[in-house]
Symmetry: C2
């Protein structure tokens, strides 16, 4: 039982697109990640995913159109919905999602990160 | 599928201690609430509860001691752990918890809110 200071945790993240776990509750993880540029189109078959922008700006590309997210805004991508987060130019995000969630969903490529670390 | 701007949503909340739902994912709700002063000692038998301070300061009283939470800090209260949030003097919080969670947990009193509204 420790509090988490988001800014301090982000200071510990040195790499882009390398999500870190900062909390766990009810079978879900709270993760932080720094993004830069375009990620990859993917979807999650069984997991809804919340993106909260803590710093910077995120353009959530969806097949139905883009959603621009500024600081203090969140967006929930429902399971099965293809999306591609694009940081413009850099973005710090907090994620809420089930523990089973893989960052690249149904795609496995060089951006896929398994076995996430806690910070 | 709409983005949520936290500041705009808080502007819509007129009462203290009246949590509103702003998102749903994976059987969990994202809620916003404005707190002022002391809430009530309680616990949740089956739900872990995340408190993220968006504005102001929250003193999370626990039987083991207090945890001070400032803006940009969160705390997860594990299921079964007695807690009493105290806003000093006012605090805006984002909550992440299972849909089944009652704001006053195992206590039912004049602060209990059932059938929460979406905003």
């Amino acid at each position: 039982m420790r509090k988490v200071n988001l800014r301090e945790k982000f200071d510990q993240i040195e790499e882009y697109e390398s999500p870190k776990i900062v909390g766990e509750l009810n079978g879900q993880y709270v993760k932080l990640s720094k993004l830069k540029g375009e990620f990859v189109w993917h979807s999650h078959e069984n997991e809804d995913e919340l993106f909260l922008v803590v710093k910077g700006r995120l353009r959530m590309q969806l097949r139905s159109g883009d959603v621009m997210l500024d600081e203090g805004e969140f967006f929930i991508v429902p399971r099965g919905v293809e999306h591609n987060p694009v940081a413009e130019p850099e973005c710090y995000i907090m994620l809420f999602e089930p523990k089973s969630t893989l960052n690249t969903g149904d795609v496995v490529n060089d951006k896929t990160v398994e076995n996430l670390d806690w910070i």
